[in-house]
């Protein structure tokens, strides 16, 4: 668990950041063979651009499995984008990529 694909791409002064996080995103409401599948979802993601925070998102359990996000940030080619996430079990993950 915890694989992140992070693809920032600069175009006309704006970096489009595409992020795909591998995560089960269980709501805790779904049942499997009569037993409730324990909740396991991302609660918070942080995106920074050259060390400055640009997006601080609170994520609920109703975001899809293997969540996909796209953000736009003003910037240029070569800028560093970092993404961090935290789930409700306290697990964290991060990825860093240079903008293309």
């Amino acid at each position: 668990m915890g694989k992140i694909k992070l693809k920032p791409k600069a175009r006309k002064g704006v970096i489009g950041i595409k992020a795909l996080i591998k995560h089960p995103m269980e709501t805790g409401l779904r049942k499997k063979k009569g037993k409730i599948v324990p909740a396991n979802y991302i609660v918070n993601i942080l995106v920074s651009h050259n060390g400055n925070m640009v997006v601080d998102a609170d994520i609920g359990s109703s975001v899809s499995k293997d969540p996909y996000f796209k953000f736009n940030v003003a910037g240029a080619k070569g800028d560093t984008i970092e993404l961090k996430y935290k789930d409700n079990k306290g697990k964290t993950g991060s990825a860093t990529a240079k903008s293309k």
Partner: protein, 148 residues
């Protein structure tokens, strides 16, 4: 430090479990979300009622064939000073799907995919310069491919 946090959260969750056993909380409250997020969700619901109509673009499918993956996009890049973009699914058990706080160089644009239990209006809330505005759209969820 980490161990302390872990212990704390373990204690907190066991406390919740005992309360649930006592029948004070409904299951959805226990399992759906943390208290903080629930409060936020309620707040978003309350403020969405009074929000005016926004002048941003909200893209969501009219008919979603698969409720587990509903793509939606908010494009408020023409608005200045966008601080928050939220997605609110009225008929979900946890209505607030996600709330994105934008700052610094971020442009008012967010695209993501959310889960929907059933057909429901979806509201996109954008806070720009301290004023919240919304655009709402009905998304039909058809399971089995037969629209209804």
């Amino acid at each position: 430090m980490k161990r302390r946090l872990f212990l704390k959260s373990a204690m907190a969750s066991s406390a919740v479990a005992t309360v649930a056993a006592a029948g004070l909380l409904t299951p959805s409250m226990v399992f759906a979300n943390s208290a903080g997020f629930k409060a936020k969700s309620d707040a978003a619901g309350a403020s969405s009622a009074s929000a005016g109509k926004g002048s941003f673009k909200f893209k969501a499918p009219k008919i979603a064939e698969n409720g587990a993956v509903v793509p939606m996009t908010v494009d408020a890049s023409k608005m200045n000073d966008v601080t928050n973009i939220s997605f609110y699914v009225v008929n979900n058990s946890t209505p607030l799907a996600a709330s994105f706080n934008l700052s610094g160089a971020a442009v008012g644009y967010v695209s993501t995919r959310i889960k929907m239990g059933k057909t429901s209006p979806v509201e996109a809330l954008v806070t720009a310069g301290g004023v919240m505005t919304k655009v709402s759209q009905e998304v039909k969820v058809t399971i089995g491919g037969c629209g209804g």
